[in-house]
Symmetry: C2
Subunit: 343 residues, 2 copies
DNA sequence: GAGGTACGCTAAAACGATTTAGTTTGTATC
DNA sequence: GATACAAACTAAATCGTTTTAGCGTACCTC
């Protein structure tokens, strides 16, 4: 059984292709198609199980009602939740989402943009890799709206972004640890050139400075992005050797690192918070359920998704216009400190 | 800046559209296009940043090199991991994946199939909802390959499926609990008509029967699918009232229920495994990291994804043929009992 | 009875590719 | 000098839609 096309319907209903098209697109009234013909066409279409071919439609109209979502890794809880929110949100505006993971690989990221562009998505929501700004500007030059999430390019302020206030979040967390009496606060972060992680790091530095706590390199672990689970686990374990003497608290700057951290701490049988206080940037089921429960700086994932869609839709509406939307808006959302038993 | 099309290239290079098409599709040699023209076209295409329009291509060829993946909920760890595996696997065969979540809603599932069909995906990998068999048969009638994963329709054996041996998995788990001396084994499952869950339930019944342990309704909690977190949590808490007296172990039949279970147990401050042994179907980071670690029946997620892709690709190759691929193959993969501290 | 307009519909171009069936030119064959 | 054939391309149809322009008829107006 072949797929049925608009001309099959036209033939069977004894009308022209145009008429069918008008009926199917609710333009029948505007085009003064008679009541009987409308019903006739609708019946035939239903009977034959007609489903309009979106490729043809997209080719003709230049709109696919699809947005491309590029995240770092869809199997990570943060991005999976974000993806779900964006999918749900897009549905409200009658858009479909296609998502893909970069694995933080520049080449793959470019390939994905290329692929989405070839598939003519109407707009993009992107978690960029460090060198992706030029590729993204090309999309903008083609008049395709783009919104960055989670990460951004300070040197390219014309690309709108929805972010959390990373600096403030980490500063707040560090401040909280100090307030609770910890002063040998270790930090675990990921090695990257991306500004959002630098912002987080600055938050830590700034608060230590404010409290005249010297910055000690030995209390910092910078895990290379490329390292596999085991290596990363090993590096964190190394840092934890100092627990009790050189460090009394540890702040993980991503949820992935935090989970690894929990694993390392568990292996070492360190008592939280007696031997070591723990704080993590970005929440996770595990942190909520672990014993003891782990304090976190929570990112408002739903808001990020909603705001990103909102900015994108706004631009999508205007993207017929000469130069698209005037200026970039970058939104900074507030994080929330969730105090649990680990501190 | 507008997108560049094949005819822009043709004009600039001073050749015909067909020639450009041949060059871009590596058919230049077969079509005896001269070396100079090939180079000329390639250069112009590169300079102008040509990206072929996949809509047009798909419209003409009838192939989109895209497969549709429908899961229950992409933010669930099981499905997120599965999606990632399938995405990676598809890439090897030069296919792109678009995924969507049904939220186990029949209407939404139908809409999604409809949407993917309109977008002309070449094949489908589907986690079905209970009443989806007829809709799936329509796809097969249109000669579109479909592979089910995780769930299946015993009454529709013509739809290929990649499953785990649910009966055997739960039987093995129940057997293990009994072997370890537990005989008041409670069970938490989800209310559904789907065969895979019935298989799991049968595994439990069968093993109890084999050991002459009477089946006690009060030890079973069947959570309605539609219930929200709080309600489900409440129902599990209710069951746990019996811990120590009426029940000495609990077997959660899905990973979602298991996580809720952990939460309920934690709230009640029950000691695992002293007051209650815990076993869950399907692993999760939380079970591995929780204290004590939770024993599970592990599903081979990577294999499920790989096998599903493998079956699909095989059918995709043959789908030009008159009746597609002859008979359905249903694969049953083995689960693995991972014994941890909770038993 | 010429001109206007409302009605109800259709023809045909266009979107950007692929692909089949040529066309033109040059060279070799008998 | 006619025929054949290869080389190097090109013209045009096609996929399934949307959309603009237009066509024929009927009725109205002056």
């Amino acid at each position: 059984m072949k797929k049925v096309s608009i001309s099959d319907i036209a033939r069977k209903a004894g009308v022209s292709v145009s008429t069918v098209s008008f009926v199917m697109n609710d333009k029948a009234v505007k085009m003064r198609i008679s009541r009987e013909v409308i019903e006739k066409v609708e019946n035939v279409a239903r009977e034959m199980g007609y489903r309009p071919n979106q490729l043809a439609r997209g080719l003709r109209t230049g709109k696919t009602k699809t947005i491309g979502l590029i995240v770092e890794n869809i199997s990570n809880a943060f991005f999976a939740t974000l993806a779900k929110t964006i999918e749900d949100e897009a549905k409200k505006y009658d858009y479909k989402v296609v998502y893909c993971s970069t694995d933080n690989d520049e080449v793959k990221a470019r390939e994905l943009i290329n692929m989405l562009s070839q598939r003519q998505v109407d707009g993009y929501i992107i978690t960029p890799t460090p060198l992706l700004a030029d590729e993204i500007k090309k999309l903008q030059a083609e008049n395709k709206p783009v919104v960055l999430i989670d990460r951004y390019f300070p040197e390219a302020p014309t690309i709108p972004a929805v972010l959390v206030d990373n600096f403030e979040g980490v500063a707040k967390g560090t401040e909280y640890l100090i307030e609770k009496g910890y002063d040998k606060i270790a930090l675990v972060t990921i090695e990257t050139d991306m500004a959002h992680m630098k912002d987080r790091l600055s938050g830590y530095f700034e608060v230590l400075r404010r409290h005249d706590i010297p910055i000690d390199e030995r209390r910092m672990k910078i895990v290379p992005y490329s390292s596999d689970r085991e290596t990363a686990l090993g590096m964190i374990a190394e840092l934890l050797e100092g627990a009790g003497s050189e460090i009394d608290a540890v702040f993980f700057l991503t949820n992935y690192l935090g989970v690894l951290g929990i694993e390392a701490i568990k292996k070492k049988r360190l008592k939280i918070p007696d031997q070591l206080a723990v704080l993590c940037f970005d929440d996770n089921d595990i942190f909520r359920l672990y014993t003891p429960t782990i304090s976190v700086i929570r990112q408002p994932i739903e808001s990020i998704g909603q705001q990103a869609m909102c900015v994108l839709i706004e631009r999508l509406k205007h993207s017929g216009g000469a130069e698209g939307y005037p200026i970039a808006d970058t939104l900074h959302l507030r994080t929330e400190l969730i105090a649990r038993e680990s501190i």
